[in-house]
């Protein structure tokens, strides 16, 4: 018998399993967590948090596309103070590592948010969202410029006592440049991908569908591109990677792990299937048992050219 445990450590954060909520679609977790079993989620990554409350963009904010969706929520959130005072206490009962996704307009805003959160208990780490396509300043501009990404990461690292995850934008020519900039600046982990800048046009109104004109594309449609970027990033950096983008099954989660992701995050798939985390967890466990792999680590990056994996792999079919 093999003990196919999914327990792991991600940049110092102990996780029950490698399945995280992607920041945004899961909100603060207060809606989905009551529908799930304890232990289905490895860590909770909350929605993008700014210093002040933000109203978000005008509707329509959502539009469905083939195997994907556009969103232009625009970082609507209650601000870091209300998050810390009202939301965080409610999350305590779920006994999960909580990672705060931080979105600033300026480097100083990121710093202010981290400074604030450093004084708040029960936060496991920060994810710097330098890649949101739905806000005018900051957001994606940070994520496409390696110098700004470097500076931001370095400055946050100087004041943070917690692991810092840098979340990369896929809207770049070469993902490895930004990944390496984040690593060089001391990031503990990178996560990718955020959404792809995209749009749809209403042919009757002859105007963009979304209130914000452009939005971010997520869901299975983007998975093959996201997977390629994780694969490339995994060859370029040594820090752990949280892979995401269209994961909607244990098989697709495993693809990201084989491409080099230490953990995975699920966003859009929760909309269709609030039980997706459990499905992924059970699917990975069954796969590991079938292939007699006792630790998930052995699968991380197993499809990369330089790496080979222990355990017995491959059915003859």
């Amino acid at each position: 018998m093999h003990d196919s445990s999914l327990e792991m450590t991600l940049s110092g954060i102990r996780l029950n399993n490698p399945i995280l909520s992607a920041s945004g679609p899961f909100g603060y977790g207060l809606e989905y967590l009551p529908l799930m079993n304890k232990g289905d989620l490895g860590a909770l990554v909350v929605t993008g948090t700014t210093f002040e409350p933000r109203p978000g963009n005008p509707p329509p904010r959502i539009h469905e596309t083939p195997a994907g969706m556009l969103n232009a929520v625009g970082l609507e959130n209650c601000g870091v103070e209300q998050f810390a005072k009202e939301i965080l206490p409610k999350l305590a009962e779920y006994n999960l590592p909580i990672i705060v996704n931080i979105a600033g307009k300026t480097i100083d805003e990121y710093i202010k948010i981290v400074e604030y959160l450093e004084k708040v208990p029960n936060i496991a780490g920060y994810e710097l969202n330098i890649s949101c396509p739905n806000v005018e300043q900051g957001g994606m501009a940070f994520g496409t410029d390696p110098d700004i990404a470097y500076t931001l990461t370095e400055r946050v690292k100087q004041i943070s006592t917690k692991p810092v995850i840098v979340k990369l934008s896929p809207n770049v020519t070469d993902i490895t440049v930004i990944a390496q900039a984040a690593e060089a600046a001391g990031a503990d982990c990178i996560s990718l991908v955020n959404t792809f800048l995209a749009m749809a046009i209403d042919i009757e109104k002859q105007r963009p569908v979304l209130g914000n004109v452009v939005g971010g594309l997520s869901g299975p449609a983007i998975r093959p591109i996201a997977l390629r970027m994780v694969w490339q990033a995994a060859s370029a950096v040594d820090i752990p990677i949280i892979g995401m983008g269209g994961i909607d099954s244990w098989e697709s989660a495993l693809e990201f792990i084989l491409a080099g992701a230490t953990a995975v995050a699920v966003g859009t798939a929760f909309f269709t299937n609030p039980g997706i985390a459990q499905e992924i967890k059970q699917g990975l466990q069954a796969y590991m048992e079938k292939n007699m792999i006792d630790s998930l680590e052995k699968l991380v990056g197993a499809a990369l050219p330089q790496k080979t994996v222990g355990g017995c792999i491959g059915t003859d079919d």
Binding site: G24, P25, F26, G27, L30, E31, Y32, P34, L35, T47, P53, P55, G56, P59, P60, R61, I62, H63, E64, T65, P66, A67, G68, M69, N71, V73, E76, G219, P220, A221, D248, T268, F270, F271, T272, N273, P274, G275
Partner: protein, 266 residues
């Protein structure tokens, strides 16, 4: 509060009741127990493991039979999702998430109420009318559509309503005119109804609500919005109301609002 959960429901009936409009009846005992009028469910329309359409589709409960454990939806084929829904056969299973949202509120006992609907907007009102009657209210229905081919509920509502007033744009059923014309025509009866329940296209809803509020009637409206999660997490479905400075989630704080809260022109 009942937590929304996923139900795999057997399809009992899925038939076209008017051109382009379908009645879907599911065996769903748990939902039948918990679903309140004005609440809705999110239905998975994609077949098998297909990811297109990706998102669930929101449909209001159009009736509920607690005794047999069945629920009814009334839906109009609009696009990809509802088209696929219309092709599902009896005996198949549908993945339904619900109950969702905040539904209609009952008025003071004994007062008459009105349900006011246009087109497919009649769907949730059928359940509301039935529910109102069962709670001892006299119910009056005011329903409108383009023509008798798209007029829904005219028959069903007679069972629960003291009177069903109808209007069609082409005069093929009832008054010739739209919902406003109908409300004017039957203003006397309308004025008796202390509480009104409205559902329909945005504009029709706005003018009907204005009329009811003008008559001093309490007025609840059921809003539509594009939804992704349906449970309040994604902030995709927001609209402007007086409840918050910024945006209000239709899926959880609504879909039913007091008409005076809704900023129809925002």
């Amino acid at each position: 509060m009942t937590l929304p959960i996923i139900h795999l429901c057997e399809v009992l009936i899925n038939r076209e009741v008017k051109p382009g409009f379908y009645e879907l009846r599911l065996h769903a005992p748990m939902l039948a127990k918990s679903a309140a009028p004005g609440q809705f469910a999110m239905l998975q329309c994609a077949a098998g493991k297909s990811t297109d359409p990706l998102l669930r589709r929101p449909l209001s409960f159009s009736n509920v039979c607690k005794k047999t454990g069945s629920i009814v939806f009334l839906y109009q084929v609009k696009g990809k999702g509802t088209h696929l829904l219309s092709r599902i056969s009896e005996g198949d299973y549908l993945d339904v998430m619900g109950p969702l949202g905040t539904g209609f509120k009952l008025p003071k006992p004994g007062t008459p109420i009105a349900v006011i609907g246009c087109g497919i907007g009649v769907a949730p009102l059928i359940y509301m009318a039935d529910y109102g009657r069962k709670h001892g209210h006299d119910v009056y229905a005011f329903i409108a559509a383009r023509s008798k081919d798209s007029l829904l509920g005219a028959d069903t509502l007679t069972a629960s309503c003291a009177c069903v007033y109808t209007a069609t744009d082409d005069g093929s059923h009832g008054v010739k005119g739209n919902i406003t014309d109908l409300l004017d025509e039957a203003a006397g009866t309308l004025a008796l109804c202390k509480t009104t329940y409205i559902c329909g296209p945005w504009k029709a809803m706005a003018v009907s609500a204005e009329k009811c509020l003008g008559l001093g009637l309490a007025c609840q409206v059921s809003l539509e919005s594009i939804m992704a999660c349906g449970i309040g997490a994604c902030l995709g479905c927001t609209c402007k109301t007086t409840r918050h400075i910024h945006y209000t989630r239709v899926c959880t704080e609504g879909p039913v609002f007091q008409a005076e809260e809704v900023l129809f022109d925002a």
